[in-house]
């Protein structure tokens, strides 16, 4: 009984200590930002009803001047590095846009990109002259988007032109290619060429954004899930003045991106959960056997 009382005292003090240095301290250190569940409530609901056919005409006559749509066989007018030298950043391929972005956000974005992204110097100019045009384009992009995206496709579309992910072998201009070095000299010219391209792109991007956006390999462990969620939904809410634009992901789109960040930043999660239960089972049995042994050894001592 006395031992249980002592255990109680030790446990209470330990828990108070934990509460103070973890949940309480962190609640005081970081400002609390309430998310809006990717509803983009500041943007008014669309009154116009989008027409896919009209949207297609608009897209193929205007958007493709800068953007590729690989799934429709439309190639990019410039490669990534030249684009960065021209605009500061490579415009995204539009094949998957409709699968990740909120339709209302997309339509408002087309009318006034800088305002909707809350980014002071957004490279894309306003590209729809009326809400009807915007709704048509958004409807078309939705119609060509695949139903289901792989986590990496979601990351590449939403984050991948500004953020590298070196653990996922992703650079801002694409996957790191597999190259071979010269067996006599050890020099890998193709790899060096690629590095130079990435470097050129990153320098331009850093000029455009003010700094090089961080590599996201392990961001899933460097920031809390709540931070990432609210930050992606509205970067200004967490970091006022940041150059990161609001990208307009839907909730499902964010979940997909998060899945990729977990793949690269916390790949042991599935194995951890599987191994954990076995190890704990072992120690519970161990403790039970130890208790029996202790009882047999201490017999007659009290």
């Amino acid at each position: 009984m006395k031992e249980l009382k002592i255990l109680g005292v030790v446990t209470v003090f330990t828990l108070i200590l934990y509460w103070g240095v973890e949940p309480f301290a962190h609640s005081q250190m970081h400002k609390h930002v309430e998310g809006n569940n990717f509803k983009y409530a500041d943007l008014s609901p669309l009154k116009a009803h989008g027409d896919v056919a009209k949207g297609k005409t608009l897209v193929t006559t205007t958007c493709v001047a800068c953007h590729s749509i690989e799934s429709q066989g439309i190639k990019a007018p410039m490669d990534a590095v030249t684009s960065a030298q021209t605009y500061g950043v490579n415009p995204p391929d539009l094949s998957n846009v409709g699968a990740l972005l909120d339709e209302k956000f997309l339509a408002h974005f087309l009318m006034d990109p800088a305002k909707v992204t809350k980014s002071k110097h957004f490279a894309m100019p306003p590209s729809a002259s009326s809400e009807q045009d915007a709704a048509d384009i958004a409807a078309y992009l939705k119609s060509i988007a695949p139903k289901e995206l792989k986590p990496k496709e979601a990351f590449v579309m939403a984050c991948g032109r500004c953020h590298a992910n070196r653990y996922g072998k992703w650079t801002q201009i694409g996957d790191v290619p597999e190259t071979k070095s010269n067996i006599k000299t050890g020099v890998d010219l193709a790899a060096l060429d690629f590095k130079k391209k990435v470097g050129t792109y990153q320098n331009k991007l850093a000029d455009y954004m003010g700094k090089l956006p961080p590599d996201l390999s392990i961001i899933i462990r460097a920031r809390s899930e709540h931070f990432l969620k609210t930050f992606v939904e509205d970067p200004q809410s967490q970091l006022p003045g940041t150059a990161m634009p609001r990208v307009g992901l839907t909730k499902e789109g964010f979940e997909k991106v998060k899945a990729y960040l977990e793949e690269t930043g916390d790949p042991s999660k599935p194995l951890r959960e599987e191994t954990g239960s076995k190890v704990l089972f072992f120690f519970v049995v161990f403790t039970f056997l130890a208790l029996l042994w202790k009882k047999s050894v201490w017999k007659g001592h009290h």
């Binding site: 392990i218 460097a222 959960e273 954990g276």
Partner: protein, 406 residues
């Protein structure tokens, strides 16, 4: 020369005994190493510490096989190579990270057990002093290890802590540069902390653990009532079969069986933390690579250093450093500042009872404030708690010299 039986088979019991005195060793170190019977589970903390240190050593050896002590490679060797390429590398790392945090929790429980039951007095001073030396060495080990992943908190904690050596108003910048091997933490800095972490400090820890065990031998372990036991008489009783009447038990198997049970409970909790709740031991800030151009918004040490950090922080530079130095060494003086001859649990020792709980609560308050941003009310509470800490130690000799003899 000693007598060796020529007919003894190699490695037989007799052969071993003649060469290594295994029977004597076993008797002295285990079956006739006497422990008081009147103890509770807090007496198992030493074994928990030894076991946790073992886990840290083993997991550390595995991590060492892949870790790269290079400012360009360190971060990815930990976060990519070990965490995703090496089979079960994540497990070793999480054991190492959680172990480093939990070991301090057990050290503090072990220390406060010693303070509560007066286990540092009358013949047991060296147990306390060698234990405090272990505390300092474990702190050095934890700090040097924290540098190795070369994340933001590694870098900036390294910057802040090595800056302390400038001695405030003494401006010993040369000393700081000598410690760092550079003007700022860099390659030389990482290399030397790597050496300290994997060689020098662990060697010293192992040596002092042996010393700590050695200091226990003659004064024996204290008991729940601080009762002075005639160990020889009690041992004779035990050996005569009167185990119920005897006040002692042998280390092996009686004490050990209880230790192992406590260890089972402990490891169940420990591995629960390793698998499902390791975040508390692995600060998110350190998952951003070291960046000399970007100071983190909040720089704070790991939880086990927070109380002494908060004794430093609320004061101006020079008094702060003096207070910090005071906090670092004052526990060493406990056996000499406690003037009362009573060896008894704190709750039977008059004012000391209040002193004990006040110290514990004050250190928890300091720990809380050490992590919070030093602004507004937190700053004031921190200052009061730091002054209280110093005040408590000044009061200790006075209140204990007035204590009634039990």
């Amino acid at each position: 020369m000693a007598h060796f039986d020529e007919n003894a088979r190699p490695f037989s019991h007799k052969w071993m005994n003649e060469r290594l005195a295994v029977d004597t060793l076993k008797r002295v170190l285990s079956t006739e190493y006497w422990i008081p019977k009147n103890i509770n589970f807090l007496w198992a903390m030493g074994m928990l510490l030894a076991a946790t240190f073992g886990l840290l050593l083993v997991s550390g050896i595995f991590l060492l096989m892949y870790y790269q002590p290079n400012t360009q490679l360190a971060f990815d060797s930990v976060n990519y190579t070990i965490m995703s390429e090496v089979g079960y590398g994540w497990l070793w790392r999480h054991i190492h990270g959680v172990g480093a945090s939990v070991v301090f929790l057990i050290i503090y429980i072990h220390m406060f057990t010693g303070i509560y039951y007066g286990s540092y007095k009358k013949g047991r001073e060296l147990i306390w002093l060698s234990g405090m030396l272990l505390f300092v060495l474990f702190s050095a080990e934890a700090f040097s290890g924290y540098m190795l992943p070369w994340g933001q908190m590694s870098y900036w904690a390294g910057m802040v802590i090595t800056n302390l050596f400038s001695g405030g108003g003494l401006h010993l910048n040369g000393l700081v540069e000598w410690i760092r091997g550079d003007y700022v933490p860099g390659q030389a800095f990482l290399n030397r902390f790597f050496m300290l972490h994997v060689l020098l400090v662990p060697l010293a820890i192992i040596g002092v653990i042996v010393l700590h065990f050695g200091t226990l031998r003659i004064p024996h372990v204290n008991n729940q009532d601080g009762e002075e036991i005639d160990f020889e008489e009690a041992a004779e009783l035990y050996k005569a079969g009167k185990v119920k009447k005897s006040k002692v038990i042998p280390f092996n198997p009686v004490f050990l069986s209880k230790d192992i049970f406590v260890m089972g409970v402990y490891f169940t909790l420990f591995f629960y933390l390793v698998f499902y709740h390791f975040e508390f031991a692995m600060d998110p800030v350190n998952f951003d690579p070291a960046n000399p151009l970007k100071t983190p918004t909040h720089i704070y040490p790991e939880w086990y250093f927070l109380w002494s950090y908060e004794v430093l922080r609320p004061f101006p530079t020079n008094p702060g450093l003096i207070a910090f130095g005071f906090a670092q060494v004052i526990f060493f003086f406990l056996p000499f500042l406690d003037r009362s001859p009573n060896v008894a649990p704190a709750n039977r020792r008059g004012l000391f009872k209040f002193w004990f709980w006040a110290l514990l609560i004050d250190m928890i308050v300091l720990t809380f404030m050490g992590k919070l941003p030093p602004v507004g009310i937190w700053s004031t509470i921190g200052l009061i708690a730091a002054v209280t800490f110093i005040g408590l130690w000044i009061a200790l000799p006075i209140i204990t010299s007035k204590e009634k003899k039990l």
